[in-house]
Subunit: 332 residues, 6 copies
């Protein structure tokens, strides 16, 4: 099977241990992530061939970041070196009514200073049939948006399938335009879309299939390339306890997953990314849309039990989880 | 606004990591606490000016303890140096049906060897309008009781508001008199009292407002200076899961907070102290008694998610918690 | 009272910290365990005199293992040195729907290469009145089975009480015979048996006392030496949340324990071993079968809150747990 | 005594534990530093009153940074909030022939975006008689240079003593001008200068007093306000073993310290800053220049044995070090 | 061979990790020690039968302390429970010219409140032929001195060999009498004495055998029971680098060990105790005084490379060290 | 350039932190190594294309091992899955006269149960021009020797350059034949040989070039394919302090490196492997034999400062080390 290209900003994640507040921490755990890198890492573990594209400076920390991706089998041969810094974020794990907290320090990153023409998209897409991006990249800067648009145009011209995770982060959009002004042009390229409407997350959990279909049809009308619309629904009982389910609409029918009760969250960062990866895996490898949404939600339910940005988990483990209905009986 | 003076014994807290038993531990986490120091630290984070008064020897560990307090903005300029040792306690975190455990080693401390005349209360109370103490100090020794009484007399003569947390610890009272013999004289000075009756904790949760008012009136009759009586109610489902609420009686009306379900306790030590601090903050800064009890209970609910003796938490975070009703949705 | 002899394979346990996956771990916690060693350690903490018998090579890691046992007061004077290696296992803690995982590396161990005649059973049983073994030893190798049989014959000839925990692990039986072919001969020696039927775990929780008695009678008919049959019942809500109870049948009556809800599991490995130890303690020291099953289930409920293979817990702590009905109110 | 004002950029320091390479690290130790903050922290420990001035954004990490400074008694009341980010650096400890390594990520910091007029120097210098700065600030940006110049002018007009550590870092000067173009104007304000000439470090160690005096006179001629010129001399045997000494010239005489052999370096970052702090302390508090240079070199020799950016060390400890001639006999 | 009884105060040791200062530490390593416990642990590892006698309260930390001793095979069956607290000390590791530092918190310990008549010396000395004590016990309190004297009288009456390590700690003697007033009476019982004169440590390294013999004869004249006088000589190049040697005088001849250069000290606490243990081992098991002093100095040289209070080291490892002349070639 | 194939046994390395003894450790650091894997990892970091071949079972720990290799860019596509277990070793770091210690647990590994015919050497060597092996593989088992011989024959037939590191470990040769019986046949294939004679290590350091040439000629006469003979010379001052140098003989001339004084060893395991890797790199990429031996010795001197089995170090860092003559001046 041909390779998947995932493009976005790579971040250093620095998190306080256990439930320490950042203000208390004397040591931070290092991880490397970012929405699109997380998708790449998860897909590579499922056995797909994946190339991750980003722009970073060349120093000991970026060497470490690339090694992290390589260790999971993600190809980084098309990563571009340049710019001044790699974005990072500080993270503390919430508990009960105390929310998890992200302190971003990602401005002026090498991805933010990307410009059209910097990435050799022709080389990047060699041997590829799928391109994944997310709504975080256009939020970062105008240059990143231009570079992305260039990639989307090229991907479309080569006939690649294009998937997107909306990933709306209001406080990242600071470069002059709003998501509403920028996203529609980019979204025209999409064949698969996740989380396109902030309110739909909630809707997906509660409204009936009919209303959900209406919302999906609206999206497909606005973006005629789009053939698959998916939503995840997170019910926040507390920072320690969420419910988690998803639904997929293919223009004809709504497919819904089981709703998992995640009562002892270990780390919910990257939950959506792990869903996106498993969805792409399913669309490429599984036999129907029901299996796909089931696999995607199960995989991302597992992510909530894994420390770090990424879903350290094989496809066999996802199947085992599904088979045991998420009861977690000891394996020995 | 004028400064608050908090007086009591400062302790080294040595706790086993995670859920290790003390018997298993090869490393201990260091923290510094004590009921009145915890109140001081929380008030300083809310923006009040606070001076903490205690007596400790002068060595590397007490330097560290003072730095800890200073880091949160608590003034330690009136801390007295002298005596032989700083009290300490060992702590292990319980889980489910295994209770958390405290092993005290606080006898013969520099606070226990305090005597009337040692503390320059005149200097201590300069620029102050509030004095806070707890029932732990008179439990420690006769000398500590005398020093406290001296402080209370001076505070009263200067017109300070006096608040107290009863903090009954039966096994600390070893110096010859019982709490019942000693406390009433000291409590005459109080304007604000918390947890004055061991049974009321339970009552507060379950009895109706009328009976609660009866109990409050009884206290105010016995201690005519007292204008505010508060109770917290902890429902112990297990060491990992408590419920938490509070009520305030001002001689006229009972104000009750929401009842929070704390399903994944991180560290419940200092829960009452964080309540006391937020109560004092509310009485001084918030516009009415309902807001005050709501703020106090929310703040102390947060404390249950924070490692260590103290509520590492700003007032903005308390408001955010209240606004989101303690659901803990991620902040990014 | 005379000493108890426990015989089996000693293992190094290497576990990833917190909820890290083994694939993520850069450090592993070391512990030492094995079903029969766990029983020995727990019994020694309850105050019984215990000797643990196994075969291990002589190196720095086995020195460490023996020190671990000695620290809890278990005698290792009859441990045999020889063979090539000490078995070990890697362990990761599950959470929610992600199961805990054991990766065994115990083949070719010094216990697996045991043979009849190696152990001086006469010396081992001096001053002893009880012999404990488990179904893990015959799974390990033919030689280990022979050595065990030799011990059982000797124990019987000396009039010792013999107890067994079935501990069925399907994937350990690799040496040519099945449990079904090997176990019956060995089980003839037993006076006390736990967990003899894989289905009964489930049954014990749900069937009524009558059906349970029928099952117990069947066992006692097949193994006429057997006077006590016990079962534990684990309800797996998730890897983080189990229910736990047990029942004891003495040929006349079924005695049932309370059912504990363990909502925040710390470490469930060794749960059955801690039950077995407390059962033996009860049968030897407590005044009736109801107290015995209550004590055994309470002790093993506590184990689920303790890190490591063993139940670091005194009998006073078990009683406290029972008295507070497993609510875990703080002890200070 | 009046307070000292130290002005510069505050940094997060993220260092790999022990001798791990950054590329290997999975956890980083957090510290907070920067040349001028390090000077402030050390002076506060010696008992001087110190205010540190910088510009940082307001988030959980900067709260932590300020708490760090406050814990040592440094006043941060005049710290300015604003801008986008706090600079940081990654650090790995070298050993033998493998050099320690700093990876800077301090561009676009809130200090770099400082501009003339932002800092209320009048308020900053209230009650102050000394202003300390270093050559790192003008390297950061043109705006930072302007803000510094404004401060220097104001300090001069108020009659403060001005001290500077040249701290030349070639690779920081990226904003358009060179150190050679910018520094002379700023250095005109100095009364005390350290490390003004890159070659003099070496010279100070090896040349005789006469040649050293010649070099000092040259500096004092060029900068007529300057009354004290100091140099430190580091002999690099390896990353683990340095020699360390210093010399002070007051226009009349050269005063030299003992030369310490630091054979087991723990952390040499901040060595120069700890020297500068002790020098300022000496010039303000000690009775002559010989004592001053002896104190400064001893204090900074101790710094090489302390983890982190700052010299966690009291003046009594410096005196003890000097009295025992740096032999390090155990204190008990 | 008969058992050795070692008597003294048991301490909790809380040390900062690596080279952190106590003032910086957020975690402390736990160890258990004390001069006489360290001797016991080392002797047990060499294969001798050892009983350690002390007085401690009964809590989770003392359970842990006893387990520590038991893990090394030291018998604690005659440890007395009672009193209020277990002494402890905080420790930071020095480096280069920064000395290691001990902060004691051992006042009012259960050993300090010992009194004559508390210890059942008859039972303690059953099956014993050797009694070891040190000069720390009489420094602790008058009661401890009385209890010790009682033990010495009993030991003498039973014909035991008595050894003592002088272990002078000036700042421990606070109960009213000086070492000079108390020690001579106690030392009359000794057959083996180490470090009796503070100046002799130094002398032993530098003076010739004749002068050393003169000093030894003086001691033996004053204490006619004494047959063996030993000294160790520590040359303090820095906190990281010491030289180490020893000498033994038996009334006839001076036997000297090799002088080891310990260039990278890991932990020097307990160096003298490990020497004392190996000396006792040698006097009981080795064939002559030369072998004994060689073994004792080699064993204690190894201690300087071991973390914690005790010499975790077998006699085979001491022999290997001696055979390779302390060059430390890798063993694989 | 074509790829290098390195073949050998992959091991889990479990080491105690810092200078803890294995007997004291409660946590172990995990690393993955083995002589030939270490060579592969170092070569990949220098930029060469490397494939590592071994045989391991398929479980979570081997997944982790392969990820480790992949993170450094080593291809593991020809790793064979099968057998029962992955070898491992426990390691403690020595200090001063206490030697580092390796406890092997590598018997019955999947490499030991290799047999001729299992590895598809044709596929393995596709696109390769170099084959590296070491004397550890034939020590492991007869089957491993057969598989290696098969590989050597195939490599020779394809015209690959063959390099070997003798790596004599006496206590590994347990399968029936000695190194003397087995190695000569295998060594006939070699073009490059390191460390062929246990005594020569020593000789290389001390004898003059003439005698060294004599020894080299002897080797080349016995093994006529051999064109390059290299030796490293380790001078063991202590476990903390070694000297390190090397020499290369090409049949004509002896080339010697500088002799480095490594005074503060961090981790000497893998020192020889890092030398071997850098030698292969030099022979393939550098312009002459002097540069090659200089590069190889410098690279392996750096290894002594790196934690773990492998030389985490780029070629630029080796050049920087050589340029600064191993003085380790800070890089910032």
């Amino acid at each position: 099977m041909k390779k998947i290209v995932s493009f976005g900003e790579l971040l250093i994640r620095l998190s306080s241990p256990g439930y320490q507040r950042l203000q208390q921490a004397k040591q931070l755990n290092i991880d490397f992530g970012g929405a699109e890198a997380n998708v790449a890492v998860s897909l590579a573990q499922f056995g797909d061939q994946v190339s991750y594209v980003t722009r970073i400076p060349d120093n000991d920390m970026t060497v470490s970041a690339l090694r992290h991706l390589n260790s999971y089998g993600v190809s980084t041969q098309d990563v571009l070196f340049g710019g001044e810094r790699m974005g990072l974020y500080f993270y503390e794990n919430g508990s009960n009514g105390r929310a998890s907290k992200v302190v971003y320090d990602r401005q002026f990153s090498s991805t933010a200073t990307l410009r059209r023409g910097m990435i050799n998209w022709e080389k990047v897409f060699e041997g590829s049939d799928w391109f994944h991006w997310s709504g975080i990249t256009p939020a970062v800067s105008e240059g990143a948006t231009d570079a992305l648009l260039e990639g989307l145009e090229f991907a479309q011209s080569k006939g690649l399938t294009i998937s997107m995770d909306f990933n709306f982060r209001g406080n990242l959009w600071k470069w002059g335009k709003t998501a509403g002004e920028v996203m529609p042009e980019l979204m025209q390229f999409n064949h698969v879309m996740s989380g396109t409407h902030p309110d739909v997350d909630v809707l997906a959990g509660d409204i009936d299939d009919y209303l959900f279909k209406v919302e999906g049809d609206k999206i497909m009308t606005q973006y005629p390339n789009c053939k698959i619309v998916v939503f995840t629904s997170r019910g926040v009982v507390s920072a320690s306890h969420n419910t988690w389910s998803g639904a997929l609409y293919d223009g004809e029918k709504v497919y819904r997953s089981q709703k998992y009760d995640i009562t002892h969250i270990v780390d919910r960062v990257g939950g959506g990314d792990s869903f996106m990866a498993a969805l792409i895996y399913g669309l490429r490898n599984l036999k129907n849309h029901q299996e796909t949404i089931d696999f995607a939600v199960a995989a991302s339910a597992i992510k909530h039990t894994i420390e770090g940005d990424q879903n350290v988990c094989s496809k066999e483990e996802v199947y085992h989880f599904m088979k045991t209905n998420g009861t977690g009986k000891i394996v020995r």
